[in-house]
Symmetry: C2
């Protein structure tokens, strides 16, 4: 009933437990016949080594930890999964854990123990997917363990490498696209609860001024309902925007009710854009113009970097920006609506 250990196998095979250990951890150094004997015994007993006991003894778990900051964020799970598959193809074991984000007094924070739990497993490297509200837990990772962050910004003096899409470029694409369609009153709607959201907002402002337009901005919570009421408010003003640029797809989709109501009330068409190109935006009823942040490229790059500690060390504090693509769909195309 109890899981067999290295000792059970050793006894069954008539060898010492170190020999059993060596069979599993080294290619050579044990004679073919003994190796066979050990393997046969292990097979019979149904033995597989306890990965975590190994990591405790050896000081390294020989796997890459993937920390997903928020399971409900479609783009996070997508990138995490892509990275995991890429690592798998490189023969790297991975272990994926989800952080717990709690909210106390309206402020989000990470349950530190979740991160610590993953760290205590002693990963060879760790890929953080998403913006961590608080990350003092990461400080306890030895310098020899590389950290790659994706879809997240770096802190000051951060030794990690960050991979994400170039928000400035993305917003430039969005604003240019809207401007070419004749929009001038363009309003941005999004949260300002983290580094990523603030940078995106700034990127919007910059893109607007570069196009000779004056940016207008309103903030909202990270919920569909929040986006919807923000959009409603924006459209209710006396000189309403003709285009709404949202922080991401989920918010854009959440606000489509307000937009539909506006149009139903006989007001002019309002263009809407999202960000992330999640599968939501593809749906035919939604058909949202959005930005593809090159999720696959981000995941691939993360997988490539994390397996090369020296490289990551040499790039400490750098941000790798992927060139985003604009995906035009019906939400910005009046004729198709």
């Amino acid at each position: 009933m109890k899981r067999p250990t290295i000792r059970d196998v050793a006894a069954a095979a008539g060898v010492s437990k170190s020999l059993v250990s060596m069979v599993y951890s080294r290619e050579d150094g044990v004679s073919p016949e003994r190796r066979e004997r050990v393997l046969a015994a292990a097979q019979k007993l149904g033995f597989t080594p306890n990965q975590w006991a190994r990591s405790l003894a050896s000081g390294s778990g020989n796997f890459i930890g993937i920390l997903v900051v928020d399971l409900h964020n479609l783009i996070y799970t997508e990138v995490a999964d892509l990275a995991r598959r890429a690592l798998l193809e490189r023969g790297q074991q991975t272990f994926m854990a989800a952080a717990i984000i709690s909210e106390r007094k309206g402020k989000k924070f990470v349950e530190k123990s979740t991160i610590q739990a993953l760290l205590d497993l002693r990963p060879n490297g760790i890929i953080v997917v998403g913006d961590l509200p608080e990350e003092s837990a990461l400080a306890s990772i030895p310098d020899s363990v590389p950290i790659v962050k994706t879809i997240a910004t770096l802190r000051k003096k951060d030794r990690a490498v960050s991979i994400r899409s170039d928000d400035k470029e993305a917003m430039a694409l969005v604003v240019k696209h809207l401007r070419m369609r004749g929009h001038k009153k363009i309003q941005y709607i999004g949260p300002t609860d983290g580094a990523v959201s603030e940078q995106r907002l700034e990127a919007f402002n910059l893109a607007m001024t570069n196009q000779g337009l004056s940016p207008k901005v309103s903030t909202c919570e990270r919920t569909e309902a929040g986006a919807n009421s923000a959009a409603k408010a924006a459209l209710a003003e006396k000189n309403p925007p003709t285009a709404l640029v949202f922080f991401n797809d989920v918010l854009a989709v959440g606000a489509q009710q307000a937009v539909a109501d506006h149009v139903a009330a006989g007001k002019p068409f309002v263009a809407v854009t999202g960000f992330d190109n999640t599968y939501l935006s593809e749906l035919s009823q939604i058909s949202l113009t959005t930005i593809e942040p090159e999720k696959e490229a981000i995941a691939l790059k993360a997988a490539e970097l994390i397996t090369d500690p020296k490289l990551v060390a040499s790039m400490a504090g750098q941000e790798i920006l992927m060139v985003p693509r604009l995906i035009v769909r019906k939400s910005t195309d009046f004729s198709q609506k």
Copy 2:
């Protein structure tokens, strides 16, 4: 640089390491002054116990493992998160891991090592969220560790307890609803790749015959595109259905293009239903009539059960069926369309 251990704390506090251990594992048994001294030293060094070394030594990790079968399934992540929060409130630590589902030769299967990895951590109990294609790995869990499955069916001779919604009841609700709106040609579209999907299909068949209707069924892959082409094919027949019942929300949403095209071609309104009441179905542009499987109740029940090993043992092999609710939205309401 290295994380401090119990030994470092003991040295700093001038006590033995057993004492330090006791401070962290027992409420009493160590004098207040020593306790304080230990805590102070720990604080200064930034010590926190290594959870996994504890679990190795004590034989129990003192946490509940949550195994999410597929991160991309909205209902899985939702239930997993709800269960986690419920457990957190009961003061139970949790650790959430994602299974790797690979596909070889068109057949899905779980990367066994993922499950084993979670098991090797020695959880006090394990909640499986979703249907596992293959679960021999679970066999190595000692009988003393309770297993609760959610949104999944039980195998034969399964010692786990399963919590899910009553598909028969759900399908009865759906079919009755459609019948009351005058539909008689009702077609089911869904995959048949697992126990859950097959049971749902059967439930549909049963509900139809109970209503004196003859069921029609077609299968599709678990993708939006698959659902869409299946719907297209169904609607292209000479005597097309007037209502389409889908296995879940994602498929129903994926097929809305085919439905829209059908209506755009001047054909009569086609009612559509989903399953799961994910946030997709709520979106105003989608507004999908669906079944709420009582995710919250499922998660709560799972949390309640998993903390009571004896109870789970006494219920081995039982399935707890939650009474589902029908959520009526525009997708089955011609007048509102």
